[in-house]
């Protein structure tokens, strides 16, 4: 069996020690941490952090949301937009 490949990517601790910012790929899903089963379109405070200034949904890469919850978030945001609780475009 071949030995496992060594990663050339510096670990998060290394980055932090060098005064850099944490690796955005290592974020945890905020919904998974709370054990969210359903994202409600009526819950504006919950949706707001995942919407940028222009009213777009923030990328998973930046927020760290897992794919399952990102899909839930998308439906919630689209419903909220239709009901004029969120803007389509600012």
């Amino acid at each position: 069996m071949a030995p496992p490949k060594k990663s050339h990517r510096p670990s998060d601790a290394n980055r932090l020690a060098r005064g850099g910012r944490p690796d955005p790929r290592l974020k945890k899903c905020p919904f998974c941490e709370h054990g969210t089963l359903y994202i409600d379109y009526k819950d504006y405070p919950a949706l707001k952090p995942f919407i940028d200034y222009f009213g777009n949904i923030r990328k998973r890469y930046y927020t760290g949301v897992c794919l399952k919850h990102q899909k839930m978030l998308k439906t919630a945001v689209e419903r909220a937009r239709f009901m004029a609780m969120l803007a389509y475009r600012k």
């Binding site: 359903y38 009526k42 819950d43 504006y44 937009r81 009901m83 609780m85 969120l86």
Partner: protein, 187 residues
């Protein structure tokens, strides 16, 4: 909060969110809500819960209205009747938008009218705290700067004092006399 469990197997619980325009006379409002609830009654629906949000700003203008009045209804009804009610709501005057959602299993009704108000309050307090912290930081900076300035001026005074001593008149004349009487200096 009540958990949404249908009483029979044929029926299901649906969540209906209806958006009414905000500046509305009480009479009109009563009429519209009566009409909307009438549509549900016609379809044989049973109201499980209701959440009236009241006045709320809209993210974009709908039908010329910039403010709206949201009401969330939870109805237990026959799934076959949903389309009927949907079509009826679509042509009801005084209803800007409506949406029907099938809540997931074990969904708990949240009174978002209260939750939103609470959130607004919390946000305000958080902002106030942040503003207070900022103010404190600025004050600290000003104090530090004033201290530094005072220190710098004190130091300057200390160093400048010996150089600044002006010669008295007598001492000056004495020195001049000395210079004049000095033979080694060839004037």
């Amino acid at each position: 909060m009540p958990q949404l469990v249908p009483t029979s197997e044929d029926s299901r619980i649906y969540e209906w969110c209806v958006l009414y325009p905000y500046p509305m006379t009480q009479k009109e409002e009563q009429q519209v809500t009566k009409e909307v609830e009438g549509h549900f009654e016609e379809a044989g629906a049973r109201q499980v819960a209701k959440d009236a949000w009241g006045r709320r700003g809209l993210a974009y203008s709908v039908g010329g209205f910039k403010e709206g009045n949201f009401t969330v209804y939870y109805y237990e009804m026959d799934p076959g009747k949903v389309k009927e009610v949907d079509n009826a709501l679509r042509i009801t005057k005084g209803v800007l938008r409506h949406i029907a959602v099938k809540p997931p299993k074990r969904y708990q009704v949240v009174q978002f009218s209260e939750a939103y108000v609470q959130w607004l309050k919390d946000r305000k307090t958080v902002e106030e705290q942040r503003a207070a912290a900022r103010e404190e930081k600025v004050q600290e900076q000003i104090a530090r700067r004033a201290k530094m300035k005072a220190k710098a001026t004190a130091e300057r005074k200390k160093t400048a004092k010996p150089a600044e001593q002006p010669l008295g008149e007598e001492a000056l004349t004495e020195q001049i006399e000395k210079l004049i009487s000095d033979d080694s200096v060839d004037l």
